[in-house]
């Protein structure tokens, strides 16, 4: 096959624009919460699509999560990915990043020889940004984080990554793993024909099964003792609530800027005076 063989790691996360499923204590009830594709992972998918457009190849999207996560795998096909794999297994419950990276790297190995692995920068729920780099280590691949631009030629990738105060250009031999920055190009909207094709695919079971598979730990040859709760040394000591999603909007319309600012300061002092006293000299 010509072109590059690519894997994009994508996670389904709770929809942050929705309050549904947020428990009063701030934890998330994943069964009730609305779900979405981790927004950071869309940049990763876009990068893979760019490579495919320029050089051809095949993109396999891999996600780990409960069965509903299949939604984002199928959605990725609508954006132009070729294949999808969902790693879903009850024994994966309560995975931390160590065990998540272990399980995911086994899936990448299961896919076979790949040229590039793309991950998002971080997720909007776990937010650790650890998974990508850990997988690279386990796959023994060079890794480039915060990738913005990428060009590949003759097995070597020229990359631009964001660093504090500027950019850095690197040359990296393939295969490699990159985590894509959210300042990279946005994911291009779905095309009508691609969405149509996926709808037809879902109705054609034989063709669908060739493109989309749900795997468990045994199939990818992962050791169950290193996955899920058993394989997760991280202990969540305590969670606490920092504030509310949303809230209300108050308009200050004193008629002129001076009155409006006075009104605003008055309200802030009344509502949060104690905090102000702490932080103000």
């Amino acid at each position: 096959m010509s072109g590059y063989k690519m894997v994009v790691l994508m996670k389904q996360v709770p929809d942050t624009s929705s309050k549904a499923g947020v428990n009063p204590d701030g934890t998330v009830d994943r069964a009730r919460a609305k779900r979405m594709m981790n927004p950071f992972d869309k940049y990763a998918l876009q990068k893979a699509l760019e490579v495919k457009k320029a050089h051809g190849g095949e993109i396999t999207v891999v996600s780990m999560g409960p069965p509903p996560a299949l939604e984002i795998v199928v959605e990725a096909l609508e954006y132009g990915a070729d294949k999808g794999i969902l790693l879903s297994d009850k024994r994966l419950a309560a995975s931390d990043t160590l065990s998540t990276a272990y399980a995911l790297h086994m899936v990448v190995k299961h896919v076979g020889k790949v040229d590039m692995v793309f991950t998002g920068l971080q997720t909007t729920d776990g937010d650790t940004a650890q998974t990508g780099p850990q997988i690279a280590e386990r796959l023994d691949m060079p890794q480039v984080t915060y990738l913005e631009k990428l060009e590949v030629k003759d097995g070597v990738a020229t990359m631009q990554r964001v660093v504090e105060g500027g950019h850095q250009t690197l040359e990296v031999p393939l295969p490699c793993l990159v985590t894509v920055a959210n300042s990279a190009a946005r994911l291009e909207p779905k095309r009508f024909a691609d969405v149509f094709a996926v709808k037809e695919l879902i109705r054609d079971k034989a063709a669908y099964d060739k493109k989309v598979t749900i795997l468990d730990l045994d199939v990818v040859g992962a050791n169950p003792d290193r996955a899920g709760l058993k394989g997760s040394p991280t202990v969540v000591g305590k969670t606490w609530k920092m504030g509310e999603i949303g809230g209300s909007c108050t308009m200050f319309e004193g008629g002129n800027a001076k009155d409006e600012v006075a009104e605003l300061v008055g309200k802030l002092t009344a509502d949060h005076g104690a905090i102000l006293e702490e932080v103000l000299p």
Binding site: R186, P189, K190, R191, F192, A193, V195, F196, K199, R203, S248, C249, T250, M251, E253
Partner: protein
């Protein structure tokens, strides 16, 4: 070469009319059928906004168990309805005997049409999945851009623009437009279907969470804040969970080039009566949409051409006299489904095969009620004194404590001729004898630079936290535009220059600026020239600006990628 994207039926707009059509068509299907639904919103309902208090007569047919179904998004059942005359200070309910029967809304459903459509789409998907051979594919974020013809027959619509027709065009044996005219106006233009133009009103709406519950109460208001000469009225609907809908609708065939619909609604809220309801409440949502008000005489000559039909507001089934749009839109979809099922069974979707649609619509309650209401809209033009003198006199009577009756009496006493006129107007609206066809003028011919706004009564003493500038209220429409989307065409900037000159010269803003519901249009000084500019990202896609632009210099297109407002719950 790849194969064409093809379905039996393409529905443009996941609208109440088209979703009813799809449900009926799936119910009627005796073999395989493929239906595609295009919707420009990011999800079904995202671009749908209505009141809505609706006669559930079609709902009952499509979903016999909707009342028992816990998943049905019911906002309430109307228990008490009022027609209320507003002064700036006081209000008075019209006595029950004087309320026309069609404004007695008791027993009607209070609905969020946006949520209703989303619910109908979910049920439709389930229904289709359970029936062998039935395919219903819903495509949110994909608007129809252009109608595709083969000769004079419609063969589908262009959806995408990759440049490869096999990827871009949705082919169908029948294409049905329930799109409020977004693309179907091109169909009407191509075949000169409307001998009389459609005329429009614009409605703005807010949802509030209030301290007290008004569940089941429905008010339709006249008088304040309409300036003399303005055909407009408010609606206030009490819903479950302390939700209160407050809205205002006004006609666009008006001399005033700067109607500022969102501010009319703010004025309505300043009334002490509304203030009492909003006290301690919180604004949740804002939005706007237009209503086709022409009724009977704006209906097109043909309701279908070869391969295509129109339903709902796109066709013009709304009945402004009864304030009934949802039920009539749904009924048109119901009827269209039966005609399509027949046509597909016979393998003939020619104009002749689809022609029975018109006769059936005109024979249904849609045609009967539109016919009965055919002079309603025109009455206000034939008798300008209703809006210029009578309503202001009533409102003054209410404020002065003489009551509605006192106001009417004072108006009548000021000249018997005027009283007679009022009776004549009432006859024309309620019990018309035939006076021949009515010819409407396009709304855009009305805005007059020389218009002088009459001084109307102003409400005082309201809570400033309950009223908003238009720039602020737009926030509550939750618009989101994909980067780079510019969905409104301005055809000729020189035309704008002279238009701006004309209106600004008379101390007005051009109509696009003065009537926009979301502060999209503005006039800016650029290189020493007063220039028309647009802030697309505010737009709620109501199309008002296009309707009122005097030289027809604008076109509001369906924006791609689901860009636009989020009207869920509206």
């Amino acid at each position: 070469m790849s194969q064409n994207i093809a379905y039996d039926v393409a529905l443009v707009g996941a609208s109440p009319s088209n979703l009813t059509l799809a449900h009926r068509l799936v119910d009627l299907a005796q073999g395989p059928i493929r239906i595609a639904i295009l919707e420009k919103g990011k999800s079904v309902g995202a671009h749908l906004l209505s009141g809505a208090v609706s006669n559930p007569r079609v709902l009952n047919k499509v979903f016999p168990n909707w009342k028992e179904d816990e998943t049905f998004p019911l906002e309430g059942i109307c228990k008490e309805s009022y027609v209320t005359f507003m002064g700036a200070e006081k209000v008075e309910d019209a006595p029950r005997f004087a309320v026309p029967p069609h404004f007695k809304k008791e027993g009607y459903a209070i609905l969020s049409v946006s949520d209703l459509a989303a619910w109908m789409a979910d049920r439709l998907t389930e229904k289709a999945a359970a029936k062998e051979g039935v395919v219903v594919d819903i495509y949110p974020t994909f608007p129809a851009k252009e109608i595709i013809y083969k000769g004079d027959a419609v063969v589908g619509v262009r959806v995408d623009s990759t440049g490869d027709n096999a990827k871009d065009i949705l082919h169908a044996k029948v294409t049905v437009f329930g799109d409020k005219g977004f693309v179907s106006r091109d169909l009407c233009d191509k075949f000169a279907l409307r001998k009389n133009p459609q005329v429009w009103g614009v409605g703005v709406k807010e949802i509030w969470e209030t301290e007290e519950s008004y569940e089941g109460k429905v008010w339709h208001t006249a008088g304040y804040p309409a300036q003399p000469g303005l055909y407009g009225g408010g609606f206030i609907y009490g819903c479950k969970h302390n939700k209160l809908i407050v809205g205002y609708v006004c006609a666009l065939d008006n001399d005033n080039p700067n109607l500022e619909p969102p501010q009319l609604l703010q004025d309505l809220k300043k009334s002490p009566w509304v203030q009492k309801m909003l006290k301690g409440g919180k604004l949740m949502r804002y939005g706007a949409a237009v209503l086709p008000e022409g009724g009977y005489y704006s209906l097109p000559e043909k309701f279908a051409v070869a391969g295509a039909m129109m339903v709902g507001d796109a066709l013009g089934t709304l009945d402004i006299k009864r304030f009934s749009g949802v039920d009539k839109a749904m009924e048109s979809g119901w009827i269209a489904a039966e005609v399509i099922a027949d046509a597909l069974a016979k393998g003939d979707t020619s104009e002749a095969a689809l022609a029975p649609y018109k006769a059936k619509v005109m024979d249904s309650f849609i045609g009967k009620e539109l016919f009965e209401a055919r002079y309603f809209k025109q009455t206000f033009h034939t008798y300008p004194e209703i809006l210029n003198d009578a309503f202001p006199a009533f409102a003054a009577g209410v404020d002065a404590g003489r009551g509605l009756f006192g106001g009417a009496l004072a108006f009548g006493l000021s000249g018997p001729f005027r009283a007679l006129k009022l009776l004549g107007a009432r006859g024309m609206m309620e019990n018309p004898s035939d006076r021949g066809a009515v010819a409407y003028k396009e709304d855009r011919t009305y805005p007059n630079p020389a218009y002088k706004k009459p001084e109307g009564a102003k409400a005082e003493g309201y809570d400033r936290k309950t009223v908003f500038t238009t720039a602020d209220i737009v926030y509550y429409a939750h618009t989101h535009y994909e980067e780079g989307v510019q969905h409104i065409d301005e055809f000729d900037k020189n035309v704008c220059y002279s238009c701006i000159n004309r209106y600004e010269g008379a101390g007005k803003r051009p109509p696009c600026v003065g009537d926009c519901t979301a502060e999209v249009h503005e006039v800016m000084e650029i290189n020493g020239k007063r220039t028309h500019k647009m802030a697309f990202e505010n737009c709620v896609q109501c199309t008002t600006c296009e309707i009122v632009c005097p030289p027809k210099n604008l076109r509001v297109n369906a924006a791609p990628y689901g860009s636009g407002p989020d009207f869920s719950n509206m």
